[in-house]
Amino acid sequence: MIKNADQIFVLLQHWVMSFFPHALQSLVGVLLSVVSIICVFPALFAISVLLERKGLGRMQNRLGPNRVGPLGILQPVADGLKSLTKEDIVPTSADAVVHFLAPVFLVVIVFMGYAVLPMGRNMTLVNLDAGLLFFFAMGASTELSVFMAGWSSRNKYSLLGAMRAVAQMISYEIPMLLASLVVVMMTGSMNLGRIVDVQNQYTWGLPHWYIFTPWGFAAFLLYATATTAESNRSPFDLPEGESELVAGYFTEYSGFKFALFFLGEYVGMLSVSGLGATLFLGGWSAPLAILNWVPSWIWFFGKVMLSICVFIWLRGTLPRLRQDQLMNFAWKFVLPLSLLNLIVAGLWRFMGEGLTRWVVCSAILLVAYVVMARVGMRKERFGPRSYRYAE
């Protein structure tokens, strides 16, 4: 019974495929899963938007949207309708083709990222051998669409915003890769399904999630910071800094294209947190051995919503970083730590079982963290402000 609940979607898929001639069956199967992804994740998008506005409100001692539907639950539907009906203004001097293509390109690329994520037990759309590499390839392409958006609107602010966003995304891409690389190194394969299977073992009832290892925990933290920056969220949301750059690279967008950008951003956030879950939180594996009866996909979506809440929480609490602080933080703190983490993972691998490697690795990481924080960051904090005027 439990097994059926777990494999409910797979069975559904096979049931539908059975109606079609053999030749088409594989095609139909793939189409079905694609359609399901395209439906599920925008729904999650709506929920997370709502959650964010309600959460932020709560954090700021205010109610948040409660006019539409009971407790404001239908607010996302209202937003969606609004963006659809709003007039789509394209600046005359803008480069029409590129202007139109930018959001489309962004959304397509982001959705393609989901092909490799294992949503549940054997519920991955395409079980690629180099799945992680595919995911990062897609991640890398999003910067280009951001640039296209910023440049095509021929608006100085949007261009500046785009430049900043691209620079930020490139800078944090490397730490993200290196953090995930640690996991690949330990499991020995880039196949996400394989990574989840390795984590899906239990000793004394506790799962083998990578987050419970020193290098895993450090990698998860680095991954978290990198991904928040990667999706221009919260402390790193300089490109959309309303106060200076109006709305960053999508200022000249309005109507549905603006909604698309919004959708792209949130779906990107979801996919990134989904990857984080698979790499460090054991994907669809249950937190405790005894909870195994619960269907796997529930665990996956639960972990995703949990990380979304963390994103929202971060947005509510942390102040926005300055551009140079942001870059220094990336190149002089996160990157070295992730490199060190690689070495520590190597050490962990070749030191035999037992407590010693726990102590040694965690000691190294803690010492490095303290030293880097104290030494690296001090002179950055309160230096005199230096102004450079635009020519």
Binding site: D95, V98, L133, F136, A137, A140, M163
Partner: protein
């Protein structure tokens, strides 16, 4: 010759031609990314997954962005004063045509030599890892050194001198 190959080939060639012929340099850069993407798909067609994803990651992710940055930094995006093409473009074109003719001739005339169809090789990332760390460890180290030096070199070349005007 599968239909997919023709389709993708057409897209890649279109992208490449656009990259070379468009007036606006940024459009050229974007067309270039299309050509890169087409190539990546061709790699996947040839069952070289790792190479395909690497192509996307490196070229579309990094090189395209780099090109675009270079264009913006050198104000290439504004309309260029003189003509887009150099004065002696027919000569260049003729030579390119000749090169293509020679290459085409070589390919077509060597039907006997080339190997025939072979089974689809299944390549796992593990094998690639072993190969990289085993047989090709020296090239890997050299590439590492090369990339670092290129990195440092590019930075030195492109950074503002401290006192210089702009």
């Amino acid at each position: 010759m599968t239909i997919v190959f023709y389709l993708i080939a057409a897209i890649t060639i279109a992208g490449a031609l656009a990259a070379m012929l468009l007036k606006s340099t940024v459009h050229c850069a974007l067309a270039l990314t299309i050509a890169f993407a087409g190539l990546a798909v061709q790699f996947l067609e040839l069952d070289a997954q790792f190479a395909g994803f690497a192509q996307i990651l490196v070229y579309i992710g990094a090189v395209a962005i780099l090109v675009v940055f270079a264009i913006l930094l050198t104000r290439g995006s504004e309309a260029p004063k003189g003509g887009v093409f150099s004065k002696s473009w027919p000569a260049g074109l003729a030579i390119a045509a000749m090169v293509f003719a020679v290459l085409g001739w070589a390919v077509l005339s060597s039907t006997s030599v080339l190997p025939n169809e072979t089974a689809k090789p299944t390549v796992s990332v593990l094998e690639i890892g072993n190969a990289l760390m085993g047989r090709y460890v020296l090239p890997l180290e050299i590439i590492a050194v090369l990339l670092t030096s290129a990195l440092i070199g590019a930075v030195i070349v492109a950074k503002h001198e401290k006192g210089s005007a702009k």
